[in-house]
């Protein structure tokens, strides 16, 4: 019985943290944010050298063959640093590819993802708040896809897109490559500028079916929910830490504002809500890896809880800063925006709470 991290996991977190502190300060985050693509290939290949995109990729395909918990620990650190780029997109695609069991697709794409040479993303969402594999309207007919996916992360720079669609047998997962005819990627302007999203129109786009049924799609979605929860935790911790530091240095009425009980109590409440929430997403990640009968529901619970908390934390920490927190120059809004992404992407907190209630059989 051990509900803690291994030495290797602590080392993994520390290594990523130190690298991001030196290579991905907020000045660089802002530069990528304000770029056209929201993707900095040098940053991504640096993370590739650290092994970040390959954590979940099986060793046979050039990755580390680790578990979702390890990927989530990386997500926490990337959330902490507000790291821009295609990490989430590639992690979704990796879990989908591994769950698909399609050997050709795995052999072709997993090594490239692991080494940071290819960006692959995962397209589930459709208009009308639709994130359910069995309800998507995109259709596959005669080896081609027809439909419209939206809020697809990093689609603007993706070499391939895994598309959740349906054919006569029901839901499944298809792979579409960059530049294929009938694929139109339209970047959408998002509040979070560190993780770009796009609409993907598919009009007879040639596609390979890599999985039948909804399992691979659901597995990827659940992994994504856990990773969003971990990102939310990392980001919320960063906002809390920044605000504690600010409260210790900013003086009003002749003393640091952190000496005022109103400020102390708001920060204490945030810390009290946040600290135990770590255990919830740890467990959800562990369930994804080892306790299959609890994986789906815990992923939903963790996503709903942590992203709600992230929103509350970014809001409250901005308020605690006063005017400076509301400026463009001050960094807090980077996480505020990121919290909006984490809350909405893959479905809202309410949506996942409804699912969790259904899954409980209530």
């Amino acid at each position: 019985m051990d509900f803690g991290l291994t030495e290797d996991q602590v080392l993994l977190k520390d290594t990523i943290r130190r690298w991001l502190e030196s290579e991905c300060p907020t000045t660089r985050v802002r530069a990528v944010m304000e770029s056209d693509t929201g993707h900095d290939p040098a940053l991504w290949s640096g993370l590739g050298e650290l092994g970040v995109p390959g954590l979940y990729v099986p060793a046979a395909h050039g990755g580390s063959g680790l578990e979702l918990l390890d990927v989530a620990l990386a997500a926490e650190e990337l959330g902490w640093a507000c790291t821009p780029g295609p990490f989430l997109a590639c992690a979704l695609a990796t879990t989908a590819l591994v769950a698909s069991g399609d050997r050709d697709a795995e052999a072709r794409w997993l090594p490239a993802i692991a080494h940071g040479r290819a960006v692959v993303t995962f397209a589930l969402g459709e208009d009308g708040d639709q994130w359910d594999a069995a309800r998507v309207k995109t259709r596959a007919r005669g080896g081609a896809l027809h439909g419209r996916k939206t809020l697809v992360p990093a689609a603007n720079v993706a070499d391939a897109i895994l598309v959740a669609a349906q054919d006569d047998e029901g839901p499944g997962l298809w792979l579409v490559e960059r530049g294929a005819p009938g694929v139109e990627v339209t970047p959408l302007s998002g509040t979070d500028m560190t993780r770009r999203v796009a609409a993907v129109a598919l009009e007879g786009a040639p596609a390979t079916k890599i999985a039948a049924g909804r399992t691979a799609t659901d597995r990827a979605r659940d992994a994504g929910l856990v990773l969003l929860a971990a990102d939310a935790y990392g980001g919320a911790r960063r906002c809390l830490d920044m605000t504690v530091k600010y409260a210790l240095t900013r003086e009003q009425f002749g003393q640091p504002i952190g000496a005022f009980q109103a400020v102390k109590h708001q920060l204490a409440d945030l810390a009290a809500e946040l600290d135990p929430s770590l255990s919830l997403w740890w467990y959800a990640a562990h369930a994804h890896d080892r306790i299959p009968e609890r994986a789906e529901r815990h992923a939903a619970l963790a996503k709903a809880h942590l992203t709600d908390l992230y929103d509350r934390t970014t809001r409250m920490t901005t308020e605690l800063h006063g005017g400076i927190g509301f400026t463009w120059e001050y960094d807090l809004h980077l996480w505020f925006r990121r919290a909006i992404f984490d809350r909405a992407f893959l479905g809202t907190a309410s949506y996942h709470r409804r699912r969790a209630a259904d899954l409980a059989g209530w």
């Binding site: 019985m1 051990d2 509900f3 803690g4 991290l5 291994t6 918990l69 504690v244 409260a247 210790l248 003393q255 640091p256 952190g258 000496a259 009980q261 400020v263 102390k264 109590h265 920060l267 204490a268 409440d269 810390a271 009290a272 809500e273 600290d275 135990p276 929430s277 770590l278 255990s279 919830l280 740890w282 467990y283 562990h286 080892r290 306790i291 815990h298 619970l301 963790a302 709903a304 809880h305 709600d308 309410s350 709470r353 409804r354 969790a356 209630a357 409980a360 209530w362």
Partner: protein, 405 residues
């Protein structure tokens, strides 16, 4: 991360189960109150001869009071939080008497072990662990609540006795206790924290007057205790004169651990789900109401977080790591969750939530109303929520200390 127990621990679990099967029958279990019921929490644990004999046997086997040496009546085992957890789980499952809850075993005993004289340990610890001596806590006073160190109950040394005058308040279970551990002012000329001593007072001493204080639930579980020239043997002082504040710190630390537990919250949650499934609203079970469902899931996530945080704290403790912030937040976290849960229970019950306990037509015998009030009581007891926030902010986050006199 590995949530299964190794072979060594599974073997230990099997041993505990065997012991329970041999010593605590199904008939015993059927007659026992649930080990973690509200009654147990507020002091209503079984103290009858059958339970005491069983506890003695369990202590001899080293299952209970692992941290207390055998010469004082404990189980004396090397620290092993996993074994302690397995024991607690199995005893709860078998509905067998576990360690006695309440302020004697959980607060006074650790304090005596740390600061008491040999004679005090010999005299008090064993009987306290078995529940034959029951304790109340004499800390708060009408003028000394959160600012406890401003207390004014005086003790003056006359010969070989302390003569005590003053008043304590919010004294839970004073009417059922043989002894009180109290903070009294013995050095009035010293700065406030340095003038306090930790004194053990027998409740049947002349000059002790207990007056029940009804709480908002209508019951009287706590009291005012008045002292008028109460003579207490000088040897009943714990630690040195004027060091009672330091002595009491170890006691409060233990109380917070006591109030933070999540078993009760789990029971309440499961109870709310059951009631929401059973009660009809507009022709269907209340649990089909989308708002009820969403609130239940939201609270369940918080409950699970606190349960898994328990695993995390257990792991830290097994690894010898300091819990820091992770431990400090639990009282505030669980009590505010308890409040939100009690509130949801009231909403699920609907308009009949206004009916009082004992009213025959009230759902769940009207107990949710009492639980709703108690969720406020535990928020205040053992260091009110705002004091917890000060502790988290100052010791957990490193923010400046409040101006204090």
């Amino acid at each position: 991360m590995n949530l299964s127990y190794s072979a060594e621990y599974e073997q230990f679990r099997a041993e505990v189960r065997r012991f329970l099967a041999e010593n605590w029958s199904a008939a015993d279990a059927a007659s026992a109150p649930d080990a973690d019921s509200v009654a147990a929490f507020t002091g209503g644990v079984r103290h009858d001869a059958r339970a005491t004999a069983f506890r003695q046997k369990a202590i001899e086997r080293g299952y209970l009071y692992r941290h207390v040496p055998r010469r004082y009546g404990g189980g004396e085992q090397p620290p092993d939080p996993l074994k302690a957890t397995i024991t607690a789980e199995e005893f709860r499952r078998a509905k067998a008497p576990y360690e006695i809850t309440g302020q004697g075993p959980s607060m006074l005993v650790p304090t005596l072990l740390e600061h008491g004289t040999e004679k005090q340990k010999q005299f008090f610890v064993r009987d306290t662990l078995l529940g034959t001596i029951r304790w109340c806590q004499g800390y708060s006073e009408p003028g000394a609540g959160s600012d406890l160190a401003s207390l004014r109950t005086r003790a003056v040394l006359e010969g070989d006795h302390w003569v005590v005058n003053g008043q304590k308040i919010w004294t839970s279970n004073a009417q059922d206790s043989q002894w009180m551990f109290a903070l009294v002012r013995t050095e009035p000329e010293q700065p406030k924290h340095d003038g306090i001593s930790y004194l053990l007072i027998e409740m049947n001493t002349p000059g002790v007057d207990i007056r029940p204080l009804r709480q908002m639930t209508g019951d009287a579980d706590f009291n005012e205790v008045f002292f008028e020239n109460t003579r207490v043997p000088a040897e009943n002082l714990v630690g040195k004169r004027g060091q009672g504040w330091i002595v009491s710190r170890s006691t409060l630390k233990h109380e917070r651990a006591l109030i933070g537990g999540s078993h009760l919250t789990r029971r309440t949650f499961d109870g709310v789900v059951m009631v929401a499934q059973a009660l009809e609203r507009d022709g269907q079970p209340a649990i089909k109401d989308p708002v009820v469902r969403e609130r239940l899931v939201e609270l369940e996530a918080r409950l699970l977080a606190s349960e898994y945080q328990g695993y995390r704290l257990l792991t830290m403790s097994a690894r010898g790591e300091e819990p820091g912030l992770a431990g400090m937040v639990m009282k505030l976290y669980s009590t505010s969750l308890g409040y939100d849960l009690a509130k949801l229970a009231m909403d699920v019950v609907g308009d009949r939530g206004m009916l009082a306990p004992g009213e025959a037509s009230a759902p769940a015998m009207g107990l949710f109303g009492t639980a709703y009030m108690w969720s406020l009581g535990v928020l205040i007891a053992g260091g009110a929520a705002n004091i917890q926030r000060n502790i988290i902010a100052e010791r957990g986050l490193g923010l400046p200390r409040d101006a204090r006199k």
